[in-house]
Point group: C2
Chain length 260, copies 2
Amino acid sequence: MTNPGCLVTSDLSPPSPARAVEVDRTSPIPLYFQVASRLQELIEQGEIGVGSRIENEVDLAERLGVSRPTTRRAIQYLVERGMLVRKRGVGTQVVHPKVRRPVQLTSLYDDLSAAARYPRTEVLDLRVVPAPAEVAEALQVAPGTPVTWFERLRYANDEPLALMHNAIPTGLLTLDRTELAKHGLYELLRRAGIVPQVATQTIGARAATAAEARVLNEKRGASLLTMTRTAWDATGKALEYGSHLYRASRYSFELNLSAG
Amino acid sequence: MTNPGCLVTSDLSPPSPARAVEVDRTSPIPLYFQVASRLQELIEQGEIGVGSRIENEVDLAERLGVSRPTTRRAIQYLVERGMLVRKRGVGTQVVHPKVRRPVQLTSLYDDLSAAARYPRTEVLDLRVVPAPAEVAEALQVAPGTPVTWFERLRYANDEPLALMHNAIPTGLLTLDRTELAKHGLYELLRRAGIVPQVATQTIGARAATAAEARVLNEKRGASLLTMTRTAWDATGKALEYGSHLYRASRYSFELNLSAG
DNA sequence: ACCCCGGGTTTGTCATGACAAAGTATTGAC
DNA sequence: GTCAATACTTTGTCATGACAAACCCGGGGT
């Protein structure tokens, strides 16, 4: 049943070339990660066809010259990322590419800049104010504590798209208008070594007020998407509160959910 | 440094009672899961204070009478769920409760029943039709393939809340109106052993048409939240396509995102 | 023809032992 | 007193070995 030099035991895909599949024990990169990367590469390049079965753990481990736990961990890593599915007594299969688990916090960072929609940001306001009740609760500080508050208008393709209000704790990061106009907030945070780990968002909708409609170039009463978000780092420290308005005619949220 | 009978080595929280912390080796429940559940319980009950450090792996393993890999796996399980944070050379800490990774793939009905909002469902339509282009693409079948199509109106507290259109592949499950009126779609799927694993959703907003407004008891032009979703099982088979309308005045989406 | 049972395959769980790497605290020299 | 080197603690990685549980398939009995 073993098939030396070939990672797959499939009768669907043609036999893979007998490439060298080996690990580098002098590398500081963990063995399990080397194995996982190699497998992922093969899958993404389509060398292991969708639906075909991977070689079983024991044989794979022996052939690569690593222990079974290491192999297991590599496979587990890809299972958690949604690339593989395992069934006891059956084997490990490559799942359909549609079912890949996505990164979830990155999808909503600066979705525009990634989509080549020529984003532009106008900073309408930027100052330090005492936190209003809602902001204070979200950021877990006492009401009235100074926070950095700013308001931005984001364009895409030279059309207004979103009106964004944000608050961050003072001391976390000092922002200036030109930086804020040139980069997304999350990019600036990351650059300062601040890594948002978890966020809760609430997405709703309502009609635009006259003032909002004017700024966003919509008619009064037009549908707007509302989004409020609070982000925390790994230790639970609140990093950011945001209350945003999007033109429903030009924007929608796309989410990828996964169970488990 | 060890503190027998007490899971925490914290100088912040009062010493926990010396409760029996043991595992049941006769149980079919895996040991690592027993340990993880026990830890989770202690954390959720606040017996292990936020920010305090857990006893280290080696000692904990010895005291529970299990091996270190088993203990590690239990802790890892909670780390992946966002309850614990580990740092090499430091230890394992309990993170702020706000930073908990939630279950993400739930249905509206589940949400409502959990919130005790007295959900009720009216089945407006249920039949097998040839798949229109949009549905066919989402479910990955040829256009015109028969699919089960149904339309439901969901109430909460005796008020209309959402108008839901769904399509599922025929052969997956035979639905009947009374079952569909009594239970959520996802509950029926689960009961048939069908487990949605991944889903993509698009959330937007638009104004209600006259017909939609009438059904949902809104004024014409009122803001509605739109949500379209496709769900797949672990092997990448499409399970469900849904196109839903929610009254923005009564409903919003709450999401929990996490990086990693 | 159908059903049950057993053997083979494959993943799931667990123990033991060992060393490496990172972070913290202590100690020593200047 | 301050700074750097060292020791210690704690998690990270990896190997080996063993048994259990679930699944698939084919053979034999009814």
